[in-house]
């Protein structure tokens, strides 16, 4: 039963107007833009009506589905083994960065006892998958005779055991014809003498845009601060590698997959194998982390498993090795940013001139989002700007989304730039930020920001950190062989992305307990607990009797991917509106409830009733009440509330924040010790306090890795990965946790998030990048423009330090 929302009524309701009236600097034209967008769609996005008191929202709730995880009984994809299952393995290009297959001989592999099927580009399209490219530039198919990166797939094998499958892929003989390859930095990939990956060069795509009148805005400035900044290739490092089990029953495909978006996997598989969506079922209740790695949970390896399963008429399981995870999965792209920032003497920014070059690898799944330009677009106000974004093809790793979608690279270049402006003009970095942060509108496209708590994040963060007392001139506090530094920075990122479907189902069972059915994938961040809390708050049910279920696209509804910190908004809005629907039905039923032949509630309209703690009560006289169980016992077997909400196209949430770092640099070893870190996060409204604490702890450690250590490296001669194991890729251990980290929660009450909530998972890992580079500069007085800021770079910088004066 679709939930129909009366747009006109909603827009004219006093509650709606009140919400927007609270919004400090919303001007009339901006409100008109929203109205226009909202009125075009039906049903529309429900706007936040803040409540004075919450029963569930904002409390700290344990996560019921942790129990199977702790007992070891939770089933992850690698634990699934249907009867008759075969084991798969994949052969990769490995020795070549760009080459054509001249000849391929699979006869030895096929002859190995226990091998059931071998698939290459020659036979892959004989089993139902239509031959069309997965990506256009460069052309990318399930299997093809040209590879563009060492991690590209060449062949697949299904066999009786994992050992046989792995043995068989080794027995495939390939004769390669090497082609020109390029794996240098993305900016040099566009130079005339760079080897050309495609006949027309290495430019994947470009986007050039002026905002306002850039020339005039630049002319209005007194100073310009210019720099070249670079950031590294990163890997997600979920503890669980990618995994998939494919099983065909006639034309029905059942897939177990470790993925952040089961409904996306479902529709992609349907499209690849030419099936209606209804004949594909994707299952994955538990998954071992994603961080973007599994936001496109099905890709070539899954299609190959699907074809192998079809060839053998048996289920086939493929489980990435850690090395495959490092080399063949997607990665966060390395970026080069050339920044010119223009400001007046009083610190007011007037213009940006930003040119970005993103290393898209041979295949990119996110396109322009990898450039890291977004913080420039929306964090600070400016009169005009010139943005150039170039996505450059290289024969390195495949790139795709990773936690914060590379906003960290933009925050790195932008916040060092801001620190330099502050220094040049002799302004406190905190004051400079406060002077320039945006308000209600995104300066890039003129659209309203759904809420903006950056100002409060800066001031409260600075206060908590003790900024005024701690801040000093660069290189000014050296005690013995330790240089003390403090730094701050801000960030902004678009979250809860636009265009995502928002849907959900809320059932009230015959005993009055509540089941929430959601497509919101629980990637480990506690999404199911969040959904249960949102439903319980909206419906007025007792959270102890409210439970959320997901992890199966056959029984849930599409509510977008658990990526870009959007599930609280998209899944949460769907569940919240489904709870509105369920509650309407429940209260109507309660109105008719009788006891001893008399109505329980002396009311004419369901609007006179309210619910909380799984009781329905009369607003005018709360002593008149009935439990959900009593109401349901009056005849209904089950109430099914549902909702589908189509979000307005141009309104996206933006999360903001400010971080502050105090650290010490050892002048002999270059080691950095973080002494204190304060992260002030504008998260709209907290739903589960435990959830935001968990995101803060885990995300910031990942962010420390971005800033100080992690980078995937390829050898400069052949383009092979040189550190694709955890031995060599320095992911933080328990011994690397900073001594003191403190969150500051800023609740800006978002206008479209459920109960005012915004996404939280990603910005926490952007935070450290905002302040650590500036704190290191403040310690040693020498800038480092290349992330990660590793000890070798710090030692080189220390060598340039001026003697203390």
């Amino acid at each position: 039963m679709p939930k129909n929302i009366d747009v006109a009524k909603l827009l004219s309701s006093p509650e709606f107007m009140e919400t927007w009236a609270q919004y400090p600097s919303l001007v009339e034209e901006e409100a008109a833009v929203i109205m226009e967008h909202l009125s075009k769609i039906h049903p529309t996005v429900p706007l936040t009506v803040p409540k004075a008191r919450y029963a569930v929202v904002g409390t700290r709730q344990l996560r019921h589905n942790d129990v199977p995880r702790i007992k070891g009984t939770a089933v992850y994809t690698h634990d699934v083994a249907p009867v008759g299952m075969l084991y798969g393995a994949i052969r990769y290009a490995a020795q070549h960065a760009h080459a054509k297959i001249k000849a391929i001989d699979t006869s030895k592999a096929e002859a190995l006892p226990g091998v059931r099927a071998v698939v290459t580009y020659k036979n892959v399209y004989n089993f139902g998958a239509p031959k069309r490219p997965i990506q256009a530039r460069p052309p990318r198919f399930i299997l093809q005779d040209e590879i563009f990166a060492p991690g590209d797939e060449v062949a697949g094998v299904a066999a009786d055991t994992q050992d046989i499958a792995e043995e068989a892929v080794r027995l495939i003989d390939i004769e390669w014809g090497p082609l020109p390859s390029f794996f240098g930095d993305p900016e040099s990939g566009l130079s005339a003498d760079a080897p050309k990956i495609l006949p027309d060069g290495n430019l994947g795509s470009e986007n050039i845009r002026d905002v306002g009148d850039p020339a005039k805005a630049m002319a209005a400035a007194d100073i310009v601060v210019e720099g070249r900044y670079s950031t590294q290739t990163l890997q997600h490092g979920p503890l669980e590698p990618k995994a998939v089990v494919m099983s065909w029953d006639g034309d029905q495909l059942t897939t177990w997959v470790s993925g952040q978006y089961l409904h996306g996997a479902r529709s992609t598989l349907a499209s690849i194998f030419g099936l209606p969506i209804s004949k594909v079922r994707t299952i994955g209740e538990y998954m071992g982390g994603g961080f973007g790695d599994k936001s496109s949970p099905v890709d070539k390896f899954a299609y190959i498993a699907g074809v192998l399963s079809k060839m053998t008429s048996r289920p086939v399981r493929l489980y990435y090795s850690r090395r495959e995870e490092f080399t063949s999965s997607v990665h966060k792209a390395a970026n080069v940013h050339r920044v010119k920032a223009y400001a007046k003497r009083d610190g007011t920014l007037t213009a940006f001139d930003l040119k970005t070059f993103s290393d898209m690898g041979a295949h990119a799944s996110t396109g322009s989002a990898q450039s890291g330009q977004e913080p420039f677009h929306r964090l600070y106000a400016y009169q005009g700007a010139h943005f150039e974004q170039r996505n450059v093809l290289t024969n390195r790793y495949r790139t795709g989304p990773m936690r914060d979608v590379n906003e960290s690279s933009g925050v790195f270049s932008l916040e060092i730039t801001m620190d330099r402006i502050a220094e040049q003009l002799g302004i406190d970095p905190v004051e400079l930020r406060l002077k320039n942060v945006t308000g209600a509108k995104n300066p890039y496209d003129g659209f309203p920001l759904t809420s903006n708590g950056v100002r409060e994040a800066i001031t409260r963060g600075a206060e908590t950190f003790g900024w005024k007392a701690k801040w000093h001139k660069p290189g000014a506090r050296i005690l013995g062989r330790k240089a003390h530094g403090v730094g701050m920075g801000c960030f902004a990122s678009q979250k809860g992305s636009q265009g995502t479907p928002m849907s959900g189902i809320v059932k009230i069972e015959r005993d009055g307990s509540v089941s929430v059915i959601t497509g919101a994938q629980d990637v480990g961040a506690g999404q199911l607990t969040t959904m249960a809390m949102i439903a319980a708050e909206q419906l007025g049910s007792d959270l102890a009797d409210t439970r959320a279920y997901g992890g199966d696209s056959g029984f849930t509804s599409d509510t977008g991917t658990s990526s870009s910190s959007r599930q609280t908004k998209s899944g949460g809005t769907g569940v919240r509106m489904a709870a509105v629907d369920a509650k309407e039905q429940l209260l109507k039923m309660a109105l008719a409830l009788q006891a001893s032949g008399k109505p329980v509630f002396p009311a004419k309209d369901a609007g006179e009733l309210e619910a909380e703690g799984s009781f329905v009560f009369l607003k005018a006289d709360p002593s008149k009440r009935a439990s959900f169980a009593q109401v349901m016992g009056s005849g209904a077997n089950v109430i099914i509330g549902s909702a589908t909400v189509i979000p307005p196209p141009r309104i996206a949430q933006t999360t903001f924040g400010a971080t502050f770092t105090e650290l010490e640099v050892d002048l002999d070893t270059g080691e950095v010790t973080v002494l204190d870190y304060v992260g002030a996060h504008d998260l709209g409204k907290i739903i589960n306090l435990l959830g935001v604490e968990q995101q803060f702890d885990g995300g910031l450690l990942m962010g420390f890795g971005f800033a100080l250590g992690e980078a995937l490296t390829v050898d400069p001669v052949k383009g092979f990965s040189v550190n694709s194991t955890w031995e060599n890729y320095p992911m933080a251990t328990s011994l690397d946790v900073p001594l003191k980290t403190r969150p500051v929660w800023v609740e800006s009450i978002d206008t479209i998030g459920p109960f005012g909530a915004k996404g939280m998972g990603e910005p926490v890992c952007t935070g450290p990048v905002a302040s650590i580079p500036n704190a290191i500069y403040n310690a040693i007085g020498v800038r480092i423009y290349d992330q990660p800021i590793t000890r070798d770079k710090i030692l080189a910088a220390i060598a340039q330090m001026k003697p203390a004066s």
């Binding site: 702790i70 982390g289 955890w726």
Partner: protein, 208 residues
């Protein structure tokens, strides 16, 4: 990359041309089999391929207080054996090369990476996995409860390994400090939690 350069314990053994007979020569499987049967359970539970299956050796080992008898392929790691032949999939494999600790089990009181122990090496030893932690009634033990109540779990993939490292720590040091807890799990990688709440959970389990 291709498994060509994927060096794991298994591929190392295969590359070295080790056969069942060869392994028996390297690892004294036969010598440790018969005397290992504990008196508590005189009859071993039979699992795995039929006895005498090509390339296997018959062996007995104790997992979660149960004695098992199995025809073991000398190339199997302990993780393979636990997952594929005992169905104990709580032991997770995150790297298969001793880097992440997801497969940590406790062997004779010490935490070991089950991916770095050949199943035949565990013959005659007592192995405890995450499935062996719950109380006889199947409820969470105090350490597990502490993980639950302190929010020490996110995706849960590293959790079994963390629990087993912590189990070994608590057996040796019932009231560990935060530093001791941090050190005990330093071989267990986690990408979700930032370790903070895991350390809290271990320390609080010791205080309980």
């Amino acid at each position: 990359m291709s498994r060509l350069d994927r060096s794991t314990r298994r591929t190392f053994l295969r590359g070295a041309g080790v056969t069942a007979a060869g392994a028996a020569a390297v690892i004294p499987v036969q010598a440790s089999v018969s005397p290992a049967a504990p008196a508590a359970r005189p009859v071993a539970v039979r699992v795995g391929p039929p006895a005498g299956a090509p390339g296997t050796v018959l062996a007995q080992l104790t997992v979660n207080s149960t004695l098992y008898e199995a025809a073991i392929d000398p190339r199997w790691t302990l993780a393979d054996f636990l997952r594929d032949h005992l169905g104990l999939t709580g032991t997770k494999v995150g790297c298969d090369r001793g880097e992440c600790g997801s497969c940590t089990v406790v062997m004779d009181g010490r935490p070991v990476f089950a991916c770095m122990v050949i199943a035949a090496e565990a013959v005659g030893h007592k192995v405890q996995t995450v499935e062996g932690l719950t109380t006889p009634k199947g409820e969470l033990n105090p350490l597990q409860r502490s993980f639950f109540e302190n929010g020490a779990v996110q995706c849960g993939f590293c959790t079994p390994g963390m629990l087993m490292s912590a189990t070994a720590l608590l057996a040796a040091h019932p009231r560990p400090s935060a530093d001791e807890a941090r050190l005990a799990i330093s071989g267990n990688l986690c990408r979700c939690t930032g370790y903070t709440k895991i350390v809290d959970a271990i320390v609080r389990a010791g205080q309980a």
